[in-house]
């Protein structure tokens, strides 16, 4: 068994940000990351971020990842384990890890679960055909590995990820035949939608996929129009030849480790699914287990970073090793986070967080 002050599960934007604050407070940190790369989904994001300077506005995602990593360079009390998968989390703060085909055990005074989110899928006939991917998967494949999945695609879903990835598909040289959206309105920011529309990609609202067609790989899709009751409009069916389909229908928090350890959970639709009940200090119902980033509600990477900084600060307080600028930094990032959520797309998160708070014994105590 190896001992650390703090174990952070997940080396994405929120986990790395939390690490920085904890390290600044003199807390020893172990970051465990499943993939070979740190930075989470930032490393494949070629678009520039919005927001203020503190939120890395006008900086591309992969550059933000580099910045977060270089912020950790100065600290000796940090161990990073990559290609290491956490397979168990136990109430005595023991974390079990699969690393190099070996089973390892670690223990800490506090744990941060920063596992992020996974892409949702959509139910339709033949949705398991090779050639059908999550939009994030395509983004990884082309922007991280420089590989194209095919030559012609349709994007299902017009949220920000759907719109941004569509643009990036075009940049990579793939023809985006259409973006289809079951709702009557485009889900993402207008600025992204306009950019796509200017490139001649039709965004078809009230339209969804009925089935995928293909023998062993995707060859075509059947799309249909929907009425105001989300029912198929008769005679609206048409086929589109594509070798790639991107599914961008939202994300759901990776709650499994928290469920496993018995943290109190709640289903909150606005936050993307099952999330742990937390107090104002991102502490779960298990005192020594904290959570930040998409694992506690789907938001943008900017919010994940602010939550990460804050959770690192709260942990420093919890471990009686308060960050040297605790008050100042906490106030700063709490303000930043609340500003982000005051934006037009933050209201959903605020409703979700309110629902998460309602009737939680340990939050009110």
């Amino acid at each position: 068994m190896i001992y650390k002050d703090l174990i952070i599960i997940g080396g994405g934007p929120s986990g790395l940000s939390a690490a920085k604050m904890a390290l600044e407070a003199g807390i020893s940190v172990l970051i465990i990351e499943r993939s070979a790369h740190l930075g989470g989904q930032l490393i494949k994001q070629t678009h520039k971020f919005f927001g203020s300077k503190e939120q890395y506005a006008k900086t591309r995602g992969y550059d933000i990842a580099q910045k977060l990593l270089s912020d950790l360079d100065a600290f000796d009390d940090l161990v990073i384990k990559k290609e290491a998968t956490v397979v168990g989390l136990y109430s005595d703060n023991v974390v079990t890890v699969l690393y190099n085909d070996k089973y390892e055990r670690y223990q800490a005074k506090a744990i941060i679960v920063a596992t992020g989110a996974s892409e949702k899928s959509l139910a339709f006939e033949n949705n398991d055909l090779p050639g059908i991917y999550g939009a994030g998967a395509i983004q990884t494949l082309m922007n991280l590995y420089g590989v194209l999945p095919g030559s012609e695609t349709v994007m299902v879903g017009s949220g920000n990820i759907g719109l941004i990835v569509s643009y990036q598909l075009i940049q990579a040289g793939i023809k985006v035949k259409a973006i289809i959206e079951a709702s009557s309105k485009i889900g993402g920011y207008k600025v992204h939608a306009s950019k796509i529309a200017r490139l001649g990609v039709p965004i078809l609202t009230s339209t969804t996929i009925k089935r995928a067609i293909g023998e062993t790989e995707l060859e075509a899709i059947e799309i249909i129009s929907l009425d105001e009751h989300w029912k198929e409009i008769e005679g609206s069916s048409r086929l589109m030849d594509v070798d790639t389909l991107c599914v961008s229908v939202g994300l759901t928090p990776m709650h499994q480790l928290l469920s496993m350890i018995g943290a109190q959970m709640k289903y909150v639709q606005e936050l993307g699914g099952f999330v742990p009940i937390i107090n104002d200090h991102h502490q779960t119902s298990i005192e020594s287990v904290f959570v930040c980033g998409d694992a506690v509600g789907i938001e943008e990477a900017s919010s994940a970073m602010m939550e990460g900084y804050l959770t690192g600060l709260y942990i420093s307080d919890y471990l009686n090793q308060q960050h040297p600028n605790f008050e100042q930094e906490t106030t700063k990032y709490e303000k930043q986070l609340s500003m982000l959520r005051d934006g037009p797309f933050g209201s959903k998160t605020k409703v979700g967080l309110q629902k998460l708070k309602e009737g939680n014994a340990h939050v009110e105590s």
Partner: protein
């Protein structure tokens, strides 16, 4: 297919890595995962479903969905979308739950 020209990103030539896929020698690049190397070779079918034998490719590319699992060096259920490609790997399509040899 590999991206050759990109307005933002650069993909400099990297070292070629040789590996075996279904008994044939093929190649990818340093920095690839097993799945990205296979995709670059236009190989999208990574496994077959256990009951109905339906072809499966990857879905998430970050190690969540397990749709990319293959047999690598005789070890089944390897998530090929997050496993870095190494020289000499023996990669096979998986058609069952996985047998430990």
């Amino acid at each position: 297919m590999r991206i050759v020209k990109h307005p933002i990103l650069e993909f400099p030539k990297k070292n070629v890595i040789f590996f075996m896929f279904e008994g044939k020698e093929v190649s990818g690049y340093d920095g690839d995962t097993i799945a990205s190397a296979l995709h670059a070779l236009d190989i999208k079918i990574l496994s077959y479903s256990i009951k109905k034998h339906r072809p499966r490719g990857f879905y998430c590319a970050i190690g969540n969905c397990a749709s990319c699992k293959m047999i690598v060096n005789d070890v089944p259920n390897v998530k090929t979308c997050i496993t870095p490609l190494r020289s000499g790997m023996i990669v096979e399509r998986q058609e069952n739950k996985g047998v430990i040899k």
